[in-house]
């Protein structure tokens, strides 16, 4: 790829007079050796999977294997349909759709990791609702996914996108930033505005820890996808209005890396801190995995400073 940071990406787009999605598509084809058409088709296929996941999450039973979560999206959608929604037409849908996809994931349905399975609801939540509200074509949405991918590519390579490496800011935070920048461009924003949307969004999730109850991608993951979709719209709206990220977005990404690197191990997908370590969180863990629970307790006690194992996930690509 010819860009390494967001400033470089925006500069390249301006110099070549291309939107981010088009530049990304051409760079992708060059990198993979496949044609622009083939790469577009693959992304179109992914978008179809996302829409199908929204549909399934709103209509089918999404109780998870553990029984901890499921079927909340339908309640949120019912409230919207009753006319009692409070987030406006776009936000109301985005919230319900993001929860729907995330519940499909938790119940072993088919999703697209964006950038991970834990954060797979944010982008479809924003994209499918925006498509319905603004009447956009599937082709346009596919383009938006290339924009999101370009922004995520920079974040992933300059910071991280997995909870095990950098906490939930790296998963949900990155997904929100990608969705925000893509929505800004889809709504006619300039590459620079899309880049500002990324910085604005990431600031709001800095420090978010990964603390999945019972070690499962369910609590708090699912609701964070719902919150994430709504904040992505908020960030895009600010950027389109001309709000700029006072700290340049590339520096916000660096800040995320710095914060994530300093996060104790217990806040990085080990299910030993935060919500996972609450009284109820521990009880759920005990019910789910009685055999290993005692051992984990010991490990947590001897790992109070959070510098134990698990950091070996750090170099995970």
């Amino acid at each position: 790829m010819r860009f390494q940071d967001l400033q470089g990406l925006a500069a390249l787009c301006i110099r070549e007079g291309l939107p981010i999605h088009r530049l990304m598509l051409e760079e992708q084809a060059r990198e993979s050796g496949r044609t622009v058409r083939q790469e577009k088709m693959k992304m179109t296929d992914y978008y179809r999977v996302m829409k199908e996941a929204v549909r399934r999450g709103l209509t089918e039973d999404t109780r998870s294997r553990s029984g901890l979560t499921g079927n909340d999206a339908k309640q949120v959608e019912a409230l919207r349909e009753s006319g009692a929604g409070m987030l406006g037409p776009l936000g109301d849908k985005a919230l319900a759709y993001a929860l729907a996809v995330s519940e499909v994931n938790a119940s072993m349905g088919r999703i697209i990791a964006t950038p991970t399975a834990g954060s797979c609801g944010v982008i479809p939540g924003v994209f499918v609702s925006a498509q319905e509200e603004f009447g956009w074509s599937d082709e346009r949405m596919t383009e938006g996914l290339f924009t999101a991918g370009a922004l995520g590519y920079v974040i992933a390579n300059r910071s991280f996108v997995s909870g095990a490496e950098g906490g939930c800011q790296a998963e949900i935070g990155s997904a929100v930033a990608m969705a925000a920048g893509a929505l800004a461009e889809l709504r006619g924003g300039t590459p620079e505005q899309a880049v500002h949307a990324v910085g604005l969004a990431l600031k709001n999730s800095l420090g978010l820890v990964c603390d999945p109850v019972g070690g499962l991608v369910e609590v708090p993951c699912i609701v964070r996808n719902g919150f994430g979709a709504v904040s992505a719209i908020t960030a895009a709206q600010m950027a389109l209005a001309g709000v700029r990220s006072a700290i340049p977005s590339d520096e916000v990404i660096e800040a995320m890396r710095e914060v994530g690197g300093a996060m104790p191990d217990k806040y990085r997908e080990t299910a030993r801190g935060g919500l996972a370590a609450t009284k109820t969180g521990k009880r759920i863990m005990e019910e789910l995995h009685p055999r290993r629970h005692a051992k984990r307790e010991e490990a947590a006690a001897s790992d109070e400073d959070g510098t134990g194992q698990g950091a070996s996930d750090k170099d995970a690509p």
Binding site: R65, G109, I111, A113, T116, N157, V161, G215, V217
Partner: protein, 227 residues
């Protein structure tokens, strides 16, 4: 750059709930099957650390079964893969182990099938990416994300040169190559990752080289049956 392209960010398409505990586990199972060269009849799967803790909730067990059936990460049948495996005549057992192995998500698959036995150890390193770290007593490291050759051979001088000559004659670039030997038997195992697809006759000519006892081709980028 750790992430090479747009589809390592948007993707893979997969059955949930976890890119590391589900999608990665499918890939480990599938590489294991391809290394054995046929569908195993019986597999004892030892699970370590986070895999041992949460394999049921994450469907790591069904995911491994799906991989052993040769399925992709987004196969609709994954949630029912244990039943499908049984119907296909595969006997699977899962043994969570308390040992503190280096990587949090590790599985060791002891496979029996076609009159052979094979041990494959794999780790899931995040975002659906995996590393195969052991084949029988050999230490290896490869991801399955590139067309890969796994050769068992005698520790003969010049053999690797013969292999690279055949690869370059087929205009294939070697991305990575590693060799491990056992002092006991004088046997060696070599893993070669290439940049392009491996033609069948090339694999055949490598298999015919003096001293080569077995060649396996692994390529997770090639899609198999879906649904």
């Amino acid at each position: 750059m750790r992430f090479k392209d747009v589809f390592s960010i948007i993707g893979p398409g997969m059955i949930g709930p976890s890119s590391s505990h589900t999608a990665g586990a499918v890939r480990i199972g599938r590489v294991a099957r391809e290394l054995l060269g046929s569908q195993p009849e019986r597999v004892v799967i030892r699970l370590y650390r986070s895999f041992a803790d949460t394999y049921r909730g994450h469907g790591t067990d069904v995911a491994l079964a799906a991989g052993l059936l040769g399925w992709d990460t987004d196969h609709d049948g994954i949630p029912q893969a244990l039943v499908a495996a049984e119907q296909a005549g595969m006997e699977l057992s899962f043994v969570p182990k308390p040992d503190n192995v280096p990587h949090p998500n590790t599985a060791a698959l002891q496979m029996h099938g076609g009159g052979r036995e094979l041990l494959v150890t794999g780790t899931s390193i995040g975002g659906g990416n995996i590393a195969i770290v052991g084949i029988d007593e050999f230490d290896v490291r490869f991801s399955g994300s590139f067309p890969t050759l796994v050769l068992r051979h005698a520790d003969r001088i010049g053999l690797l040169a013969d292999v690279t000559r055949l690869l370059s004659a087929a205009r294939l670039n070697i991305g990575q190559m590693n060799v491990d030997r056992t002092s006991r038997s004088g046997a060696a195992l070599t893993v070669v990752e290439t940049d392009g697809p491996l033609p069948r006759d090339l694999v055949r000519s490598i298999a015919r080289l003096e001293g080569v006892s077995e060649v396996r081709k692994i390529d997770l980028t090639k899609r198999r049956r879906r649904t």
